[in-house]
Structures are given as structure tokens and as C-alpha cells.
């Protein structure tokens, strides 16, 4: 058997969402893989959510908790039968607690080819004021 090349892309099965609210309809709930990074001005989140269209995506931010919900409709027609099945289609769900205060009005979300790019600009810190000290007496 050939040795696998270290740089070859390996697939890791979608992992089940750790704590997801129970759905009223049955179906799998998956946790999308994310990259999160920040610079001085904003936090950026990139999430892999294949099969999710813009109208199926919901992003919620309240009380410093960011929730991503992406619904996926299975693409198969009813008259198709399985030959090989390696992945299931299911909802994507993931929650994060943000440590920084986010300027909600300037949040930018883009969904391209199943990848969500979420820019969360940090609240601009108040400008430092010069405080003048008066002498009394």
C-alpha cells in the first residue's frame, strides 16, 4: 500500500455539534470547521458550510454570543438510489462567545461557495480625553 503524502488533503468527517438545541424535526446537526483570527480592528471568522445558500443561513449575535445556523436541503431527487454514501447532509450549527465588544452596525457577512466570511469590527475605544485639573482655594 502506498504511503500517504503528508501534504495530501485528508478528509475528516463532519463532527456532530457538541451542544445543539434539539430540533423539532429529525436530522443530523453538524459543527462547521472554522478559522478565527483577529487584528487590531476586527475579528474575522471563516466557516466551511457546503450546501448552504444565502437564504438558508442565519447569523445571530446577542449578549456577546454569536450563533451560526445553516440549513441544507438534501440535493437528491426521490427517484435516485444510493451507490456510495460517504457524507450526510444536515444542518450546521455553532456558537461562540465573543470576548470583545462588537460594533453590530458594521458587521459584514459574505457567503461564497459554501464558505462564510464574517467580519466583526471591534467597538472603537473611546478617545482619551485631557482632564484639566482645577485648583481650588
Amino acid at each position: 500500500m502506498a504511503r500517504e503524502n503528508r501534504t495530501d488533503l485528508q478528509n475528516v468527517d463532519k463532527s456532530d455539534a457538541p451542544v445543539a438545541p434539539e430540533q423539532t424535526r429529525s436530522g443530523q446537526v453538524y459543527s462547521p470547521t472554522v478559522d478565527i483570527f483577529e487584528n487590531d480592528n476586527s475579528i474575522t471568522l471563516l466557516a466551511d458550510m457546503p450546501g448552504v445558500r444565502v437564504e438558508d443561513l442565519k447569523i445571530d449575535l446577542r449578549e456577546s454570543v454569536l450563533t451560526l445556523i445553516g440549513r441544507v436541503t438534501p440535493p437528491e431527487n426521490p427517484d435516485e438510489s444510493d451507490v456510495l454514501r460517504e457524507y450526510e447532509s444536515g444542518m450546521f450549527w455553532r456558537q461562540f462567545t465573543l470576548s470583545e465588544a462588537i460594533d453590530q452596525a458594521r458587521i459584514d457577512a459574505k457567503l461564497t461557495d459554501g464558505v462564510l466570511r464574517l467580519e466583526l469590527p471591534k467597538v472603537e475605544t473611546a478617545r482619551p480625553r485631557q482632564i484639566v485639573v482645577r485648583t481650588v482655594g
Binding site: 495530501d8 478528509n11 478559522d35 483570527f37 466551511d48 450546501g51 435516485e80 461557495d113 464558505v115
Partner: protein, 149 residues
């Protein structure tokens, strides 16, 4: 060859340090993905193949591939997907909290139960899912045989 391993995997007898290395790596990976019930590692991209009377349908989950290379080739009853998933480099001076999305090259061949007509393959990429419609070759479709009396 398509390889799917679930933890723990078997290996041919290597030196003892290689075994310990592998054990250490797999224990670390266990901590990273502790919430997942199934620690299967497979080949990228994961595929579903379905069929109806006239076609095979192949769907692969490949988010974010537009800016990367992808080549699809087909011959007789085999379809090959090869390419590279690249993650765009961000500006400098960013600090990562998490980096989970994988990138790298892949090369995968699927053998179908019957031959397909490679000239009439239809390929669509939308929302990170690659959908191929592979018409079955006419020779492969079942034929009604009339009995002469």
C-alpha cells in the same frame, strides 16, 4: 487506493518510536475532536454517488474551491477528481484563535458499477458542492429483448 481509517489504525511493524509517535498523535487528535463520536479519517473530498435509470450522480463537498485548481476526468467507468484546496492568505499581523479548515492537495478516483458516456458529463459547482451528472453509456443500460415466435 481509497483508504478510510478509523482510530486506532493498524500499521505494519515499524520501529518502536514510530509506534509511539503515532500513538501520541492520535491521542492529541482525540483531545482536539473529543466531541465527535466518530473519529473517522477518510479521503478528501467526501462523495455521494446515486443513480437513477439514466444517470449516475456524483456529489462532493468541496467548499471554497473557486480560487483553487480542480480537474475532473473520466474514462469508461472511472471518474477522477484532482486538485488543490488553497486558503487565501490574510494580511500580516493577525493572530489566530482557531485554524480548523483544512487545505492541501487531493486526488481521488471513483469506480462506478457501469460505464458512462464521458462526452455528455455535466458538471456544476454551487454553494461549495460539486455535482456531476454522469449519463450511463447506452451499452450499460438494460435492454428489453423481444422473443420472436
Amino acid at each position: 487506493m481509497i483508504v478510510r481509517r478509523t482510530w486506532p489504525s493498524r500499521r505494519a511493524l515499524d520501529s518502536s518510536t514510530a509506534d509511539l509517535d503515532q500513538l501520541r498523535r492520535e491521542v492529541l487528535r482525540l483531545f482536539e475532536t473529543a466531541t465527535s463520536a466518530d473519529l473517522g479519517v477518510g479521503v478528501f473530498p467526501p462523495l455521494n454517488v446515486t443513480q437513477d435509470a439514466d444517470n449516475y450522480y456524483l456529489r462532493a463537498e468541496m467548499p471554497g474551491m473557486k480560487s483553487s485548481e480542480l480537474s475532473i476526468s473520466a474514462l469508461r467507468n472511472r471518474v477522477t477528481l484532482a486538485g488543490k484546496r488553497e486558503i487565501q492568505r490574510e494580511h500580516e499581523r493577525v493572530s489566530y484563535h482557531r485554524k480548523e479548515r483544512p487545505e492541501g492537495s487531493f486526488n481521488r478516483t471513483v469506480t462506478l458499477p457501469a460505464e458512462i458516456d464521458a462526452q455528455r458529463i455535466d458538471a456544476k459547482y454551487a454553494n461549495g458542492i460539486l455535482a456531476l451528472t454522469l449519463p450511463k453509456a447506452d451499452e450499460a443500460k438494460p435492454r428489453q429483448i423481444t422473443v420472436k415466435t
